[in-house]
Amino acid sequence: MTKVLMNGSSAIAEAAIRAGCQCYFGYPITPQNELTEYMATNLSRRKGCSFVQAESEISAINMVYGASLVGVRAMTSSSGPGISLKQEGISFLAACELPAVIVNMSRGGPGMGSIAAAQSDYFQATRGGGHGDYRTIVMAPSSVQELADLTHRAFHLADKYKTPVMILGDGILGQMMEPVKFKHEAPAEPPIRHDALRGAKGRRSKFIKSLTSNDTELEELNWSLFRRYELIKKKETTYETFLADDAELVVVAFGIAARIAKGAIKTVRSEGLKVGLLRPVTLWPFPAEAVQELAKKVKHYLVFEMNMGQMIEDVQLSLEGKGEVSFYGRPGGVIPTPSEVARVISRLYYQKGLSK
């Protein structure tokens, strides 16, 4: 497969089709309409596949719930306000141990906010968002190539752990075009989970439900989910480091902000400042062990986010007080420049006396 120039939203859609996504349900919202549009054109043409533009976001997530119940790979996508509406459905998916992929190409908030790119949905994505004691795996890609790669992985992990998986992008990643190479071909037959509800011929009927009046049963479900989440933490935590080995100061950033930070770090490195980067690729599970490992050598951290400070809490929790954390953020859909972040890094570096 050669490289193609594609925008991020379309790349997610193409990668989903190649991962065997059989059903897509969505309701339009900027800045991710290219995803819905791509699915309308391309998924609906495939044999046995369905594209439905639902009448609302709530309807779309419940269609995903239904598709997942019968064992097919299903996906929905939206942005900020639409993702808020889907939270009940995501909680139900988690309760029923059903795989699904949910894409949030987030935009400026709160409320209807703006259609510009922002990272203010971190809390919502990583803390569950809906009601009840559950987690969702959250992926934070930072390029169009990674959007494609992580979409493929999201479907795999959703099935493997029977859990909803969220891809947290942003408006810029969705709109921006970059060369992308798809590493997988679409399967001839989309994968079906055979433990799903596909008719009870030859076996006893079974139920998949999230309501129970049996306390013991519900406690056991929560324990079972908890054990699975612990396994996910152990096996699926992913992150990237850049020039962190000799760093005196480490910038922690995710998604598009990590890319901007990387550019800033290259600039300050050329001026001799020992600065590195930690980029969580999975936001949940958060790479707490990687932070603890860094804390053995690095005392100063700068968390950089396109919000007013959300991931910073995970960095502080992971450090357990073993490092000093500063923050720089731009909320409301403003895209900081690499030179702006470079100035912040340099200022902090000298303020903390790291240049000595």
């Binding site: 810029i172 890319r259 550019g263 290259k266 895209i335």
Partner: protein, 176 residues
């Protein structure tokens, strides 16, 4: 090397396809490239712009706060974007439509009579390709053959339009 260009003009002048074709060409030449269309609540006939970043290394941000090049297909775009140019940057102007002069003294201005050249060729819609031809000749960001190869990819089977576009690119390229 990291070079950022903003293409701007009226909606319908083909400024997005100028950027897209440059991005395609850069990809074919194995460079790192990002293409970012402006998006917002726009109206038909309103302004449009896109940003193309081309580099040998990873590109940190697809946004251009101070681009090396600005291509202005009309006067409002010239006025809006000339101040964003880096000192020492180059401003390409569709001189057939832009009457005002650039007000900065620290930039280089390249006047390209793109609309007149396109009209003389009998295809006024291809003014964008005339300017793109001139742009790649002056900027050396991609070769003409890569742009044509990329264009073939995006145009698909539209042979007639392909020929018109290729001719317009060549005409712009030969202006300098």
């Amino acid at each position: 090397m990291l070079i950022k260009t903003i293409f701007a003009g009226f909606g319908g002048q083909g400024v997005l396809s100028m950027g897209l074709n440059l991005a395609q060409a850069a990809m074919l030449e194995d460079k790192n490239v990002t293409y970012l269309p402006s998006y917002g609540a726009e109206v038909r006939g309103g302004t449009a712009n896109c940003t193309v970043a081309i580099s040998n290394e990873e590109i940190a941000s697809p946004v251009a706060s101070s681009p090396e090049f600005v291509v202005a297909m009309n006067q409002p775009s010239m006025i809006k974007f000339q101040n964003r140019l880096q000192s020492g940057g180059v401003l390409f102007i569709n001189s057939s439509l832009v009457e005002a002069e650039a007000s900065r003294g620290d930039i280089t201005v390249v006047n390209v009579p793109a609309s007149s050249v396109a009209e003389d060729m009998g295809s006024p819609k291809s003014a964008n390709m005339v300017l793109l031809g001139a742009f790649i000749k002056k900027s050396n960001l991609a070769s003409l053959s890569s742009v044509i190869q990329g264009l073939k990819g995006t145009m698909g089977k539209k042979q007639k339009q392909m020929a018109v576009n290729e001719k317009a690119l060549q005409a712009g390229y030969d202006l300098f």
